[in-house]
């Protein structure tokens, strides 16, 4: 029982990171109808930038204060992500307006490759660490209730809190700020948004920036857990089923979907894996999504699509 709870818990933690990546997907899709395959590459890019600047800043400025280095690195990385977002809109999206979804999808595949190459060219391809002073050792709760207690990673808890805070911030941003409302308007209806004078291009830049920040946070958490290296980009592939499950257009969907996938993966691997030789979690997530597709193509929270002739 105790172990089951642990598995569940760590599933939720993994899922929470998937949600963060998925969130990036959804934001961009809602606002620009682009399925941004490059989200994973953006996570890598942002994490690399943060990790490296956190190294370089003390070297350059001579200030060795960890907090200062991290904050500065975070800000710089954020700015870099803004620049990336702006360039993507300028050089790619702007030229692909009103293309069908698959074309845009493939364009973002191209962006993925580009960012992976660029990131490693600028920041190198070693393993880099992001040290934001996360406690690494686990703690044990309820020793009394369960034998051996329930293992909890303080790091995961903190990460979860950060993620939650980010989501809260985003929802505030969408509800309260005028830009946020504009974004929602665009998401609901492009033509209408344009007709009431919301400049689409600007909206797109903004939403890609937001996605960039989300990527940065995801990259920071993941990076401080596991170190930053090229392979971080593969989290995009882990997060895809999440969106299918949650629905492309739904922010809560991304979060719930992420948690479900995370838990599903871990439970399946731990309880089913041993019987079939293990290593099943990746495709399990996908098959889960696949089965889902067949019965509810629009996902948990997505809107139904009707073809009109």
């Amino acid at each position: 029982m105790g172990f089951f709870i642990e598995t569940l818990f760590s599933g939720l933690m993994a899922g929470m990171l998937y949600s963060l990546v998925a969130l990036g997907f959804v934001l961009i899709f809602k606002a620009s109808g682009v399925f941004n395959f490059a989200q994973g590459a953006m996570v890598l890019f942002a994490a690399l930038a943060m990790a490296r600047f956190a190294e370089w800043i003390p070297a350059w400025t001579g200030i060795t204060n960890l907090i200062f280095a991290n904050v500065a690195a975070f800000l710089i990385a954020g700015l870099i992500m803004f620049a990336v977002a702006w360039l993507i809109e300028r050089l790619v999206l702007r030229h692909l307006v009103n293309q069908e979804a698959t074309t845009l999808l493939m364009a973002t595949l191209g962006i993925t490759y580009f960012l992976e190459g660029l990131g490693q060219t600028i920041f190198g391809s070693d393993i880099y660490q992001i040290n934001i002073g996360m406690p690494k050792e686990p703690i044990f709760l309820f020793d009394g209730v369960f034998p051996g207690g329930i293992l909890v990673n303080q790091e995961d808890v903190i990460a979860a809190l950060i993620a939650a805070a980010l989501v809260a911030l985003l929802s505030l941003f969408f509800q309260k700020t005028s830009t946020g409302r504009a974004l929602r308007a665009v998401a609901d209806d492009h033509q209408a948004a344009q007709s009431i004078g919301i400049p689409l291009n600007r909206i797109w830049v903004i939403v890609w920036c937001v996605a960039g920040v989300v990527a940065l946070v995801a990259g920071m958490i993941w990076g401080s857990k596991l170190g930053v290296q090229f392979t971080l980009a593969t989290v995009a592939l882990r997060a895809l089923p999440v969106i299918i499950l949650g629905g492309l257009t739904s922010v809560p969907g991304a979060i719930v979907g992420g948690l479900i996938i995370g838990v599903g993966e871990k439970l399946s691997e731990v309880y089913l894996g041993p019987f079939v030789g293990g290593g099943i979690e990746i495709w399990f997530a996908y098959v889960l999504a696949l089965v889902f597709l067949l019965f509810r193509p629009q996902g948990l929270f997505g809107e139904k699509i009707i073809d009109r002739v």
Partner: protein
């Protein structure tokens, strides 16, 4: 144009639409629509925008499934049929906002209309030997007749995407004709055309109607055209049927007039 209107014998009811109701998520597109179509006639469905005309055709085509009501064709009635079955029964259709296959040439577009008649299987087609080759040629020949009939010989190999609007409308018609339909559903065949184009199109429609004796169900906005070429007219408004009869009768109908002139009642 009225003088070219041919005299022809109208047969008995070929299609009967009974109490069709259709709604999308609570919004009623059609409520309790009933009307019939007689063999060889030109039947028009008119009504203001959003009256549910296209939805009506989509129900007949099996694109939408009405929540209530049924449609009977040549006596056998059905609640829902797949578009395939409908096509097999000989009901063809053109589209309001062009639904041609943009990537394909005019010939290929019209050839798709022949697909129902193609028998040879995948492997024969892959090897393109004997029967497959002959079949292909046979249908190509048929398609060439349609191309001549619609006077678009010059554009055979052009991708339809590159054709002017008026010609695309013809190709759309041609694709439907290639199915050798018994009933032809035309969704605003003349929308956005200038006068000559409209005259051409009406001519084609009437020719189809009396050369091949094809029954025609037609959605059209242009009252003049409708009154000229159709034998009977159904009037829809906000998904309800508000009139049915000969052009003359409909023209006199109070509700219809108000619907069109927007008089409240």
């Amino acid at each position: 144009m009225s003088e070219i209107k041919p005299l022809k014998k109208i047969g008995d009811v070929i299609m009967d639409v009974r109490n069709i109701s259709l709604s999308f998520g609570g919004v009623n597109a059609l409520t309790d629509i009933s009307f019939d179509v007689r063999e060889h006639e030109v039947r028009a469905i008119i009504g203001p925008n959003g009256a549910g005309k296209s939805s009506m055709l989509n129900c007949i085509n099996g694109v939408y499934t009405p929540q209530q009501g049924e449609i009977s064709f040549r006596g056998q009635s059905f609640k829902h049929m797949s578009s395939r079955q409908v096509a097999e029964m000989g009901i063809a259709r053109t589209f309001q906002n062009l639904a041609l296959f943009k990537g394909m040439s005019v010939v290929d577009n019209i050839m798709t209309g022949r697909n129902l008649h193609i028998k040879s299987n995948l492997f024969l087609q892959a090897l393109r030997i004997g029967p497959a080759q002959r079949e292909e040629e046979k249908h190509r020949e048929f398609v060439e007749h349609i191309i001549d009939f619609l006077e678009i010989q010059a554009h055979r190999k052009t991708p339809v995407g590159q054709l002017p609007y008026g010609l695309q409308k013809r190709v759309d018609l041609g694709r439907a004709l290639a199915m050798e339909p018994q009933v032809l559903l035309l969704d605003e065949p003349m929308a956005g055309m200038n006068l000559e184009e409209k005259q051409d199109m009406s001519r084609f429609i009437l020719d189809v109607n009396d050369e091949f004796g094809t029954t025609i169900v037609l959605i059209e906005h242009d009252m003049g055209v409708v009154m000229d070429i159709s034998d009977r007219v159904v009037v829809l408004d906000y998904g309800k049927k508000i009139g049915d009869g000969t052009p003359r009768e409909v023209r006199e109908n109070e509700e219809v007039i108000s619907a069109y002139l927007g008089i409240s009642h």
